[in-house]
C-alpha cells in the first residue's frame, strides 16, 4: 500500500498557543484511521489541516507527494457532526450539488441530459445510503441519522480520495450509530476510500478503524500549559483487520472492543 497523505514534522500554532507539535506520520491508501484523544488535544485541528481549511505553521503536508495547498478541494470530502447539508435544498438536490458545481461553472445548475444524468447518479447514491424514500424531502424533515446519511452521500458524489469525518455519529442514538457504522464500513470498502475519522467513542474507534491514532500532549508545563502542543502519542495498527475482506461489522465491533480495549485502555 502506498502513502496517500504524509505529515512531515507539522506544527500548528495560534500566536502563543501551540496546538499540534511534531506531527510526523503517513496515511496509507485505503486505510480507515480513527483519531481519538481528550478534548482540546488537536484532533479536529489535525482534521482541518488534512482538509486544507488551515495551513500548518511549520512543516509540510503532502498529498500524493505534492505539498497540499491550504484550501478545500474535491479530492478531500468531509462530514461534520452537524450543519454539513444545505437546508434550502431537497435531499436529491443536496447530493447533486457537487455535480452542478463542477458541471456548470457560471450558473452552477445543470439542464437537460446532464441534469438527468446527475439526478440518476444522485438517486443511486441516496438509495445506497438508505435514503431512497426521501429524495424530495428537505433536511429539516429528516432525523439526525438520516441527515448524516445525506451528508455522506453528498460527500461521496464528489468521489473524494480521502473522506474526513469529524465526530460524524457523535449526536446520534446508540442504535442508529450501529447502523451508521455498518453503512460507513460498507461504503469504505465499496468506494475504496481512505477515511480519517475523529471520534470521542473508543469502541467506535477500534471497531471501525484499521489504525487508531491517539492525540495528546506529551509534556505539560503547569505554568504555561498552552506552550506544549499535542501530537500522536499512540499509533496502533489493527493488523487483524484488512480493508478488503471484512466480517459482519457488528460482530467485529464487539470482538475488537473486548480484546483491544482491555489491552490498551490503561495506557490511553
Amino acid at each position: 500500500m502506498s502513502h496517500l497523505l504524509a505529515f512531515d514534522n507539522v506544527w500548528l500554532e495560534y500566536g502563543e498557543k501551540i496546538v499540534l507539535e511534531h506531527v510526523s506520520l503517513t496515511i496509507a491508501e485505503r486505510s480507515f484511521v480513527s483519531i481519538v484523544g481528550p478534548s482540546g488535544a488537536g484532533k479536529s485541528s489535525f482534521l482541518r489541516l488534512a482538509l486544507g481549511q488551515e495551513a500548518p505553521t511549520r512543516g509540510r503536508i503532502l498529498l500524493d507527494g505534492e505539498v497540499l495547498t491550504p484550501e478545500c478541494s474535491p479530492d478531500r470530502g468531509v462530514v461534520f457532526q452537524r450543519y454539513s447539508v444545505f437546508p434550502h435544498l431537497t435531499a436529491l438536490r443536496n447530493v447533486m450539488f457537487g455535480r452542478e458545481c463542477t458541471g456548470a461553472r457560471f450558473t452552477a445548475r445543470l439542464f437537460g441530459a446532464a441534469r438527468r444524468a446527475a439526478a440518476e447518479e444522485a438517486e443511486a447514491m441516496l438509495v445506497e445510503v438508505g435514503l431512497g424514500d426521501a429524495l424530495h424531502v428537505y433536511p429539516a424533515q429528516l432525523s439526525g441519522g438520516m441527515q448524516q446519511r445525506l451528508a455522506i452521500a453528498q460527500a461521496l458524489m464528489a468521489r473524494p480520495r480521502i473522506l474526513l469525518l469529524d465526530e460524524p455519529f457523535g449526536a446520534l442514538d446508540p442504535g442508529i450509530r450501529q447502523d451508521m457504522h455498518r453503512l460507513i464500513l460498507g461504503l469504505w470498502r465499496e468506494h475504496a476510500l481512505t477515511v480519517l475519522m475523529v471520534t470521542h467513542d473508543i469502541t467506535e474507534a477500534f471497531g471501525l478503524g484499521t489504525r487508531v491514532l491517539a492525540f495528546d500532549k506529551r509534556r505539560i508545563d503547569p505554568h504555561a500549559p498552552h506552550r506544549f502542543g499535542a501530537t500522536a502519542v499512540y499509533d496502533l495498527p489493527l493488523s487483524r483487520k484488512t480493508p478488503l475482506n471484512q466480517p459482519d461489522p457488528k460482530q467485529e465491533v464487539l470482538r475488537l472492543t473486548e480484546s483491544v480495549i482491555t489491552n490498551t485502555e490503561g495506557s490511553l
Binding site: 482538509l51 481549511q53 484550501e71 478545500c72 478541494s73 474535491p74 478531500r76 470530502g77 468531509v78 461534520f80 452537524r82 450543519y83 454539513s84 447539508v85 444545505f86 437546508p87 434550502h88 435544498l89 450539488f97 457537487g98 452542478e100 458545481c101 463542477t102 461553472r105 457560471f106 450558473t107 452552477a108 445548475r109 428537505y138 429539516a140 424533515q141 451528508a151 453528498q154 460527500a155 458524489m157 464528489a158 473524494p160
Partner: protein
C-alpha cells in the same frame, strides 16, 4: 388548568384578536356621539357619516383644479414612491449585503462605511437631499432608500456571515467556487431573511415617505394629511390614516405569504 396552558383555537384566536379593535371603535363612536350632543358642529371627533361624506368627494369627484380623483392620485403617488424606494433597497441589499457577507475582505473594507451611514438619522439628511436633488420625486425616494437600505444591508450581511462554517467548507469540498458559493449557498438562504427584513422595514419606510411628503410635495397620502390639518379636517385625516394602515398590513401579509410560498424550507423548522 394553568393560565399559561390556555391556548385559543384558530377561530377563537381570530375572535379574541377582533375584540380589542371592536372595543376601540365602539369607544370612538360613543365619544364622537357625546361631543356632537354637546356641539353639533364639532370637528375633532367626526362621526362615521361625516367621514363618508368628506371622503366621497375625494374618492369619486374629480378635483376641479387638476381634474384628478384626489384620493386615488394620492394613493398612486405614495405607492409609486414607496415601491420604487423599496425596490432599490432590496436590490442594493442583495448585492452589497451578499458581497459583504460572503467575502471577509469586502466586510473589512466596507463594513465600517455601511455602519456609519446606518447610524445617521435619515430625517437629518432630508435638507441635504432637498438641496442636492431638488424638491421632486428623487429626494423623497432617496430619503426612504437612505433610511432603509443600510439596515437591510447590515442585516443580510450579518445573516450570511453567520451561516455555519461547516456549510461553506462542505460546498468547497464539493468543488464550489466563490461565485458558486454565493449563488447557490448564500443567496438562497439570504432571500427569506431579506423578506423578513423588508417586512420590519415597512414601518420606517412609511415614516420617511410621509415625512418627505409632508415637507415638500403636491400629491401623496402624507401631503394630503398635512394639508387638511390646517382646516382641522379630522373627517379626512382619520380615513387616510386608516387607509395607510390597511395598505401597510396588506404589504406585510403579502410579503409573509411570498416567503412562505417561495421558501417553504425556511419555515419548516419553526413549525
Amino acid at each position: 388548568m394553568r393560565w399559561v396552558n390556555i391556548r385559543p383555537s384558530r377561530r377563537g384566536g381570530l375572535l379574541l384578536g377582533a375584540l380589542p379593535l371592536l372595543a376601540v371603535s365602539v369607544v370612538y363612536l360613543f365619544a364622537a356621539a357625546a361631543r356632537h350632543a354637546a356641539n353639533p358642529s364639532d370637528k375633532i371627533l367626526p362621526t362615521p357619516s361625516a367621514m363618508i361624506a368628506a371622503m366621497h368627494g375625494l374618492l369619486v369627484d374629480a378635483d376641479p383644479l387638476s381634474g384628478r380623483l384626489i384620493f386615488w392620485a394620492d394613493t398612486l403617488a405614495s405607492l409609486e414612491r414607496l415601491g420604487l424606494a423599496l425596490g432599490i433597497c432590496t436590490l442594493s441589499a442583495l448585492l452589497v449585503g451578499l458581497v459583504l457577507g460572503v467575502l471577509p475582505a469586502a466586510r473589512a473594507t466596507l463594513g465600517g462605511l455601511v455602519t456609519t451611514i446606518a447610524v445617521i438619522p435619515p430625517i437629518a439628511l432630508l435638507p441635504i437631499l432637498f438641496i442636492v436633488f431638488g424638491l421632486g420625486e428623487t429626494a423623497k425616494v432617496a430619503l426612504i432608500v437612505i433610511g432603509v437600505a443600510p439596515f437591510l444591508i447590515r442585516d443580510l450581511a450579518e445573516h450570511v456571515a453567520a451561516l455555519p462554517q461547516e456549510q461553506l467548507v462542505k460546498a468547497q469540498t464539493l468543488g464550489a467556487s466563490s461565485w458558486q458559493l454565493a449563488l447557490r449557498v448564500a443567496l438562497p438562504q439570504a432571500l427569506p431573511r431579506l423578506i423578513a427584513g423588508l417586512r420590519l422595514s415597512l414601518g420606517p419606510a412609511w415614516v420617511y415617505l410621509i415625512s418627505a411628503e409632508a415637507i415638500a410635495s403636491d400629491v401623496g397620502l402624507g401631503y394630503r394629511i398635512f394639508l387638511v390639518r390646517r382646516y382641522l379636517s379630522m373627517d379626512i385625516i382619520i380615513p387616510y390614516v386608516a387607509w395607510i394602515s390597511l395598505l401597510a398590513i396588506l404589504m406585510d401579509v403579502a410579503l409573509a405569504q411570498l416567503s412562505r410560498r417561495a421558501f417553504a424550507w425556511a419555515h419548516q423548522a419553526h413549525r
